[in-house]
Symmetry: C2
Subunit: 278 residues, 2 copies
């Protein structure tokens, strides 16, 4: 299709690198330009085929058609403003895990045709461009988060970008996105972390595959997750409170040796898990 | 080695079937006899190579040298008594997930040379002999739970059985076992179940690999897990209470937007998870 000549990826790690590889592989774009601060890491990304070229200073980049911000959540607003200043007609999207605060901030400062928020539900407990791969987004969901103000053609264009690399696009408001992701992504992270921390070191030789699966994401980057949780703190706190109520019900059922309640609680979890498949 | 001519597996599902396959593969035994109630399922187990023959009535079995009980936790004591009545010199062990109640009950009724408790830390969210495989125990930990009364030669014999099929044997008292497994196995199960149940159906298309990993074990058999949790209810309730305290600390840190506490909590989880490896 190649409808964009110059695509920039701002922050070329696991997500950004995978987007770059996939866009080139699908011949969806002209040149893929990496933007970042660390020339050595960008060189590595280029050697891995994630980008075609790179700049460490936005002012030396050509005029950009579309830019995907893959930098940490708390830098997104600043980087968005930088890009707009450099290429006033660029369509900008991002890959941030939370949307409400960031989208509201961008809407205050940018024309509504220039920006559409995105959140690809893909990733891993690993990070770094060395773990990037071309099919990271195939059959994965990407949430695109327009507001009533967002230009519809821009929504279509950003959706086409994700579809071109194999993803399924779902549209939600930034508010609905953050409320849902608090439960489907941020809460599991807190729970995995708490469960891992609650297991004393002397017990680690006694874990089996259940513990291993349940705590896997606790190994992810602490700073990154601190930022995500803080950006969505209200929704995550609410979800945590509801989960604690359910855990307290489990505890009571066990203390009272209440067969029926234990069965009911376990069955509710199994029913929801089975609805998804393995 | 073939030090036992007649080995019986009482309950030939995923665990029992895998033990049967592994024992035959390692030429560790003479004949592997399946014991159960359902002839069709036992026939299936024989066709899959898990057992050499089977009986649906213990009285028609030959004298048994060693018996591994792989029936549900709440049937173990009864099946143990049945086996002892049939083969008074049989060495009996089991594969149950909880130990304290069961071992205490067996010690009241059987000579201490006849029984040593075991718990192989292997399995899966799947069940049934069709999922059994010959290397399920390779490099896995098996906890063997003697008490001060247990005959040491019997402990050695049972340990040799597990070592013969590739497992690492760890000795613990039944009390220590149950306290540890409450944290390393039973608590993750409750948490996975609660997390799955807390996710409303409409959000299921918004989950990513984190949710998928963290909730995987919630799909396991409800009755089996109800029994396990009830057998270890005191320890699981204690572990649940400690976990809720930690989740409440997360919630408070988020509500107060307390950077340092969020970082400290996430780092504690990552440190423990990283100590294990992937």
């Amino acid at each position: 299709m190649s409808r964009w000549n110059t695509v920039a990826i701002y922050g070329v790690g696991l997500i950004g690198g995978s987007i770059g590889m996939a866009l080139q592989n699908n011949k969806a774009v002209g040149e893929v330009i990496g933007i970042g601060r660390n020339a050595r890491r960008l060189e590595k990304a280029r050697n891995l085929g994630a980008i075609n070229s790179f700049v460490t200073d936005l002012s030396s980049a050509p005029v950009l058609d579309i830019v995907i911000l893959c930098t940490p959540v708390q830098c997104l607003a600043e980087h968005c403003a930088q890009v707009f200043q450099h290429s006033v007609s660029a369509l900008i999207t991002d890959a941030g895990s939370t949307k409400q605060q960031f989208v509201a901030e961008v809407e205050k400062n940018l024309p509504t045709a220039n920006f559409v928020g995105s959140h690809p539900l893909a990733g891993s407990d690993q990070s770094g461009v060395e773990h990037a791969h071309v099919d990271l987004f195939v059959d994965r969901t990407v949430v695109v988060t327009p507001t009533p103000k967002t230009n519809r053609q821009s929504v279509q264009d950003v959706s086409d970008l994700w579809t071109a690399i194999g993803a399924r696009v779902v549209e939600m408001s930034p508010e609905d996105h953050d409320r849902a992701l608090a439960v489907t992504s941020h809460l599991p992270h807190v729970v995995a972390s708490a469960l891992a921390a609650e297991t004393s070191e002397e017990y680690l030789h006694l874990i089996a595959s259940g513990w291993r699966d349940t705590t896997r994401i606790a190994g992810a980057d602490v700073d990154l997750w601190k930022q995500i949780l803080q950006e969505n703190k209200g929704n995550v706190a609410t979800a945590l409170s509801l989960l604690q109520t359910r855990l307290a019900a489990f505890e009571t059922a066990l203390v009272k040796n209440d067969h029926e309640s234990i069965t009911r609680l376990l069955a509710a979890g199994k029913q929801r898990r089975d609805a998804l498949g393995s």
